[in-house]
Amino acid sequence: MADPEEMQEEISVQDVTDDGEKVSSIGSAEVDLSKFETDNNKNFTIQSQVPKICEEEDCCLGIDEAGRGPVLGPMVYGVSYCPLSKNDELKAMGFADSKTLTEEQREALLKSIQDASDFIGYNVQILTPSYISSCMLGRTKYSLNQVSMDSAISLLRLAIESGAKIKEVYVDTVGDASKYQAKLQALFPTLDITVTPKADSKFPIVSAASICAKVVRDRVIQSWKFKEGTVSATDNYGSGYPSDPATKRWLSENVDPIFGFPRFIRFSWSTASNILEKKAAIVEWEDDDEEEVAKGSASLLSFFAPKNFDSRKKKHQFFEESGLTQLTTF
């Protein structure tokens, strides 16, 4: 029904949930976050269409992240890729480290990336503050570095699996560059991988990735829909960086004595947990720190062998296995 010509003209970007399900398609420079906003606790991946030329020619791919440090909002990972033969055109687009650009410049650059959809592709993953918190506060430690690397790897994999002929990979460093490089090289032995600090100012394709990530993060924060309802996104929470007094003040003023913060906040940041320690009810978990565990095991022992232990107070196996005890006082 639609004219094939028109279809080609359209700069189409597909939204894909992390389950790999294609959910919608968007046009123009807009970043459609509506699907993400239905459950902003869940990670979300935005995937552009793979330019035809990227399936035919060897490509370079850049990986960068935005929003690693802030105590609130998502961390966003981006990859962008284009044929090695288009390197000069890429340079001409005027990419630079997203941090040195104004918001308007970044928006304009994303638009030009989307306009160059005939040779630039990109994938962006939104790692929600809920996800980051639960990873870092999980039973088994999953560090931010690990989370970051896994996101980068999954985006690279996604680009390869969707058909782009990736040859060279440039990554802005996360932690120790050589270790990261070794890890990536082991996973992708056929790729030519460069992990280096400040990659976003050295390689235009990394700059492009960093712009994708940064613009998406800004959009997510601007349009964040608080499920908690009580807090509005227009409140001034500053830059989100722990050092920003506005951010600190916002956190201090928006703490709930039981729940702490809306899930827009990364509970795993010490800025957040320090405020909770002062202003909210204490919460004890089974797997709390060293001391608590020691206390816990002591109380477990005293459960089995209290002072003046009376074997007649020992209940049948069924009750012990079910966590049931006789109520002796009310």
Partner: protein
């Protein structure tokens, strides 16, 4: 809101203290009375952590609003930690109640009055990260409801006559 919220319900009428002859009471009783009508069942969650607080909490605002269901079950979070939940039904023939004591007497030997301030037929059981399963102690604890009724039902003449092999309870 179509449902009476927790705090409103809890600050209802004050229960009388029934006078009890002091000489007779060495062990006090706790009398159980009830609110008149319950418009709906209370929403009840058992969390895998101890929150050192008693009182109002914006459960709907912070918790229920963020609770989702996926293939495995319910997902939510508390204080940044992922929780996995499942609805636990109160065994047949039983009901969940919340007992509330409004005025606790100053002395130990006085009778006390508690009242049923809420009822529920199910609650949500939450685990830290791990989806709840039949391996959780709460599952076997609730088996006690049926098992105890078998153990403690009065012995009838039928029971006495039965041969050891007869199976009466086939569930």
């Amino acid at each position: 809101m179509h449902r009476i919220s927790g705090p409103a319900r809890l600050s209802g009428r004050i229960v009388r203290n029934y006078p009890v002859p002091v000489s007779a009471v060495i062990n006090m009783s706790v009398h159980v009375t009830s609110n008149s009508a319950f418009s709906s069942a209370a929403s009840v969650h058992l969390l895998p952590c101890t929150i050192l607080s008693n009182g109002p909490a914006k459960v709907d605002v912070f918790f229920t609003s963020n609770t989702q269901e996926d293939e495995v079950g319910l997902v939510s979070a508390f204080r940044g930690r992922e929780l996995r939940g499942q609805t636990v039904f109160i065994p047949d023939g039983y009901k969940g109640i919340v007992l509330q004591e409004l005025n606790r007497p100053f002395t130990e030997d006085q009778d006390r009055n508690v009242r049923i301030s809420a009822k529920f037929n199910e609650f949500t059981y939450w685990n830290l990260q791990t989806p709840p399963s039949s391996q959780d102690k709460v599952t076997s604890a609730l088996q006690w409801a049926n098992l105890s009724s078998v153990i403690h039902a009065p012995v009838s003449d039928d029971d006495q006559d039965n041969s050891p092999t007869s199976i009466e309870f086939s569930r």
